[in-house]
Amino acid sequence: MNAVNSIGVARPRIEGQAKVTGRARYAADKPMRDLAFGSVVVSTVARGRIRDIDVAAVKGMPGVLGVIDYRNAPRLNPEAGHFFGPDGGLQLLQDDVIPFAGRAVALVVAETLEQAKAAADTLPVTYDQEPHDTGFTADHPNARPAAPLFDGPEDIGDLEAELAASAVVVDERYHTPEEHCSAMEPHSATAWWEGERLQAIDSNQGPFFIATVLATLFSLGFEQVRVRTEHVGGGFGSKGMCGPQLVLATMGATLFRRPVRVTLTRDQVFLMTAMRPATEQPIRLGADADGRLRAIQHEPAFELSPLAEYIEGCTEPTKTLYAAPAIRTRNTAVPLDILPPYSMRGPGAAPGSFALESAMDELAERLGLDPLELRLRNEPAVGPVSGLPFSSRNLVACLRTGAERFGWATRDHRPRTRREGHLLVGTGMAATSFSVGAFPSVASITAEVDGTFTVIIAATDLGTGARTALTAIAADALAIDTERVRLRISDSELGPAWSAGGSRGTTSWAWAITEAAAQLRDQPRDPSRRVTVTVDTTQLLNDLPSMERHAYSAVFTEVTVDPATGEVRVRRLLGMFAVGQVVNPLTARSQVIGGMIGGLSMALHEEGVRDQVSGRHVNADFAGYHIAAHADVPDIEADFVPDYEPGIPFGIKGAGEIGNVGTAAAIANAVWHATGKRQRRLPIRLDRVVE
């Protein structure tokens, strides 16, 4: 069993060949006999009731098998939900009420894609419209405290006294718009019945969790539902929930008793699947003249829908990044007639850190201090709010190494001092954190008689490299070469497991695999017999001591600004990361670079625009909602500082979201450095920069 370590070795993805030859099958790719296609019809009004759906008008159209609407849809269990209680977003086609523009009102099922689409486009739907409210503002009359399920309010020290005693106070307000996950694969599900058993192939971030929600929703036993999800074309949060495609495909399969495939169109992905809510974030920072923070106040508001509870936890980094004697945080929720928002890559921390790290840069400016030095002077010894020790905190290493590689030391901190021809040039930086941990999962490992090991866990690979990483982890845990590991993932039948989300996929799955491997190795072995060990990590996780556990990064960037056009271009982007032991440097680097590109896109491009008169999202496609393209993105530097999370097997941390966090603030700070004008509202559009 002598094997070299596989963890820490850069390896191409296991499914790489399949993905470059077109053989990797995604949810909409599996050929099926007798397949019918469902096309979704969505509401065009933001609030009201359905007056009529004229099903007769399309029933005779070629190939149409039927229409499902609230009058004939299977009844759903109103108690079904995700992480925050019952979720009205799941209750599709249950009544005539329209809670937001883009809500599904009907599913047309036909023999072919073209026939389904033609009938869906034709289906006459009329509404009794009611006044809607989609106008987000922090001081909206319906604003209320956010549910305290996590990132609850904190209040330590005497905030007002510390602010009064501060030599410098920054008191500003930051805004971020609705943003959309925009995975390249539109949500697709195919559902069919095999006897009393519901089968589904679905694009999602966790087949086990999705299967439990689906079973609850349709009042089925869990053993009656199987959800598979072999290859997923990105998720970024939007596939963390039981999506409308799966609910509607299941209804279609149930009513028409044949396999039904529902693939959302791109505009429906915008209109119907999780988005990041708009935020408005007042911040006050108070500091002594030498830059030591006295007070941090961060009280963001975010929008949500009355259909589903949600918390955009913008103040999570605020509670842990910097030491201050007084820290006050509050999250406020503003219910509106909009698509229920949900987690998007770097939830809470991405918009929250834009506000906090922009405010820190403003504080450095007013103190006449190097923004890097300001961060270093406020490094906490323990959790600033919790008082708990840090399990590992290597932010300073990220800051110092990043600054050195970037050449930060020679920066003139005054704004608008660099010009190259007609361009203004500036640099900026930000520090970030993202919490790490693990959730209960079950893994089993079988020692086969041929000397290989079958490792089974209901993980998913959204493009994170999970297959490749878990294979390396299993190999090291078993002290064998990766060639002897056979990994099975992506199927709800493989047992309870956390989803690919919250930067907790790899840690959760690795923990279960590592523990199963340890127990297997402890057993007396008879090589002529198969032996299986199954482990559930629930109890192990309960025993993990409470500590401040986070990944960290420091982001540095250089931008050019054309003051005549307002165009901002990112010329350099460098991130140093402390993400625990790195399992696969090749794929981990890709992942954090991808996160930084998401942050660049958030900083400069992305904005879901809502027409307040109609309440509709008006740029629900890739022409109107631009995500960073090749030409927007420079070569990006990303590297890792030595780091090890002592509470988690192999010292690993999640790396999925930290890259996304911090980049927007670093770019906004660089734009200020170039132009002298603060950008407190994302995205940094041309009209906000042009002079």
């Binding site: 060949q17 390249m184 493009g463 496609d621």
Partner: protein, 179 residues
């Protein structure tokens, strides 16, 4: 059954002739995916905005979601399934794997077909928006990262694999064009 709304067409895909009955509204993308079973080409937007469905028609890149199947008759169509020779990855595919030019892989078929078409365009001397000298007798611009980024900007990648894709394209460029 041929009528006002359907027709039988012949598509040449990856050197194989396919006889198909298609709805006249069927896009080339849907004909490839649903009619022939080549699901490597992906539908990311169905509006020509993302590039995931890019295939080669007579060597030129097209977004197959905006091409009607009936209009593709007579063309030599190459999809991701036909990029590799006999089981061997071609250089650009090999470099995508080696340099991690993708994460989720959903845009990858489009990126690869687009890159092959783009390299041919460049080799033929076509300028791009970032080419400095666009005069008719100018030599072919040197293929650098800026040229690749500009020419590949019709292919979106939400995972953010762009830097690796550019490296992979540049690394494979010489072999691809020579081969």
């Amino acid at each position: 059954m041929t009528d006002d709304t359907h027709g039988e067409i012949v598509l040449r895909v990856n050197d194989v002739t396919h006889r198909l009955l298609v709805d006249n509204r069927t896009t080339l993308l849907d004909a490839l995916r649903e009619g022939i079973g080549h699901t490597g080409s992906k539908k990311g937007c169905d509006r020509g905005q993302c590039g995931a469905c890019t295939v080669l028609c007579d060597g030129r890149r097209v977004v197959s979601c905006l091409t009607l199947a009936v209009a593709a008759e007579g063309a030599e169509i190459t999809t991701i399934e036909g990029l590799a020779g006999d089981g061997e990855l071609r250089p650009i595919q090999r470099e995508f794997v080696r340099l991690d030019g993708f994460q989720c892989g959903y845009c990858t078929s489009g990126q690869l077909c687009s890159a092959v078409g783009m390299l041919a365009e460049h080799a033929a001397g076509w300028p791009s928006a970032v080419t400095a000298d666009v005069s008719p007798d100018a030599p072919a611009p040197e293929l650098d990262a800026a040229e690749v980024r500009e020419r590949m900007s019709g292919n979106l990648c939400r995972c953010g694999a762009y830097p690796s894709i550019v490296r992979a394209v540049l690394s494979a460029a010489r072999e691809e064009v020579a081969g």
